[in-house]
Subunit: 350 residues, 2 copies
């Protein structure tokens, strides 16, 4: 059983998942044994390809031609449980203290969103109505997974390219349901709440207003979505993509919202592709935590629909992170966000 452990100094949870086939002294295995999807993939065999549906666990969601039975060919998007999950869906949390430390069982869900039947597809260039089905699958899985009261937070993310941690070429996103609110999300929720308590305005709405007014870091926008390089970007070409109107929960997006969202997302991914020659990147959705997972709900989550604002982080992985960053949490960004925005804005998409 995987385990979650809490560090009393840095106040963070880690997942100890020692059963995922990590051979301790095997350097090459170690390098790829983290949070990534693990399946038997070889150049000859693609477990995510159309026709190989039996090589994954049974699908939990799919977009397929009407009348075709599950786990068979004839789909556009398919969501399956990870065959080698970092967290297990069955069991109780059994929260307990161990002296100064804390632990619980590693209960959660770990799913893979297979974005297309073709391993050479790329989210950036899928036909818009197909790409829409991918981001809609995120919404549908969030709605379903948040029904499980053991899950405090559901993280949707995407690793593109080997340097960004992807070991499977076939295009896919991942969804991890966690029994805790992760440190970074908790920090963001706290900032948003403090801002709201002081000002009765959403922090992100205020940021949007300032970005639009300054107009120096905007990369692209459409009617409902805005993409900009954050003022304090950690990385060159880091992007924040979010709805212009206040919306706290990705589950509440309409199909029309998602069409505009995926339009902006593909715009950004295409700019990165063209400007940086298909760079590795990580993409992470920061949506509302599962506020219904607490009984009773803590007081500090009662204003979340007013103070939180969902957003997507896109981080091109152009440079490595070294001791300085690990040891301090301070990042050195060799590029001004204003310059990054200008360069990305200047790219002419075909």
């Amino acid at each position: 059983m995987p385990e979650m452990r809490h560090d009393p100094v840095q106040k963070r949870w880690v997942v100890i998942a020692s059963e995922r086939g990590f051979r301790p002294m095997d350097y090459e295995t170690a390098r790829n044994s983290k949070s990534e999807v693990k399946v038997s993939s070889t150049p000859e065999f693609d477990p995510f390809a159309e026709g190989n549906e039996s090589s994954t666990p049974p699908e939990v969601y799919a977009v397929r031609t009407v009348g075709i039975k599950p786990d068979s060919p004839g789909w556009k998007v398919r969501v399956v449980p990870n065959k080698y999950p970092a967290l297990r869906i069955e069991g109780n949390l059994n929260r307990e203290g161990v002296g100064l430390y804390d632990r619980m069982n590693g209960i959660g869900a770990h799913e893979v969103v297979i974005e297309a039947p073709d391993r050479d597809a790329d989210l950036a260039f899928l036909p818009p109505n197909h790409a829409f089905e991918v981001v809609k699958a995120y919404r549908e899985r969030l709605i379903d997974l948040m029904k499980d009261k053991r899950f405090r937070y559901i993280l949707v993310y995407r690793n593109h390219g080997e340097f960004a941690g992807s070991t499977i070429v076939h295009p896919h996103s991942q969804i991890t349901a966690l029994p805790v609110t992760p440190l970074i999300i908790a920090k963001e929720l706290e900032s948003a709440k403090q801002h709201y308590y002081a000002k009765e305005r959403c922090l992100f709405c205020d940021i949007i207003a300032q970005e639009v007014r300054e107009n120096r870091r905007i990369v692209a926008q459409n009617e409902r979505f805005l993409a900009f390089t954050p003022f304090a970007s950690r990385f060159p070409y880091e992007i924040c993509l979010l709805p212009k109107s206040h919306q706290h929960d990705y589950r509440k997006t309409t199909d029309d919202d998602l069409k505009q969202f995926v339009n902006m997302l593909q715009d950004i991914l295409q700019r990165l592709y063209a400007g940086l020659q298909n760079p590795p990147y990580n993409m992470v959705l920061h949506t509302s935590p599962n506020t219904e997972s607490f009984t009773p709900r803590p007081t500090h989550w009662s204003t979340i629909q007013n103070d939180w604002h969902w957003h997507l982080e896109i981080i091109p992985r152009l440079n490595n992170v070294a001791g300085f960053e690990w040891g301090s949490g301070i990042f050195i960004n060799p590029m001004r966000p204003e310059q990054a925005a200008e360069l990305l804005r200047g790219i002419v998409l075909e």
Copy 2:
């Protein structure tokens, strides 16, 4: 002038150092343009080698034979300013708000500790009296740099191997003086303070007591120092090395302390070298912040000599960090810390 910027959502500072020769669309440059030392190093020319002293800025500290003049051959350890610093030593901070955001000038120091004249040397295997001079150089530079009241925190760190972010083969450590307390250190200081206020005991002393009592994660120890794999390790073989007796400030270590410290440090580095075939690693010292840098000193730093305990983090970089970790701050460790400790303990050093 480099700039420090504050993010109002994640409440962290970044350094925007856009003058370090980063060519925006150049992927390979980007990959290596972060916090690492940047000098013109080629296989033929080693700027840190004995005889090439004129290729670095003038030394600020050196261990050399008596009577030999600075910046000439005849040294064991040499500390020089980084030729391409991420932060600049001269100027005023000019703290200011920019709407919701905050910024200040990137004032700081960035030094390189050249650990030996020979580029093929390795800190793990230097003669003990030579390795002692390296960790003593850390102390002497901390003492000197903390006299500058603009610096809130001085970070000592070491990147070993290309995958850990090192671009110069010649063995060296780095020292960065910052005008802010970094996020991770601030978090640790806060935990230690809360623990102390509640219990009037040092959090780290309590951890040491529990580790010694449980005796499952200890890797090595001598009379004054203990090395163990933290209960909630983020990475396989992550190590915490710290003094067994309460000591909050690395500047206060005696030569005898440092001899025992470097003995333990070399022990650990040799175990990693033998067990993991010379792995890349990051090493980061978490010592006391520069409490004298505030006038007047904030109340919450008045108990720091009781509540803080300096320690060294060693993180072998066996696996990459992907979207899950970036987006959540939750790490998935594929190896139980108890197993890592057992394997490292079992290595017989020559």
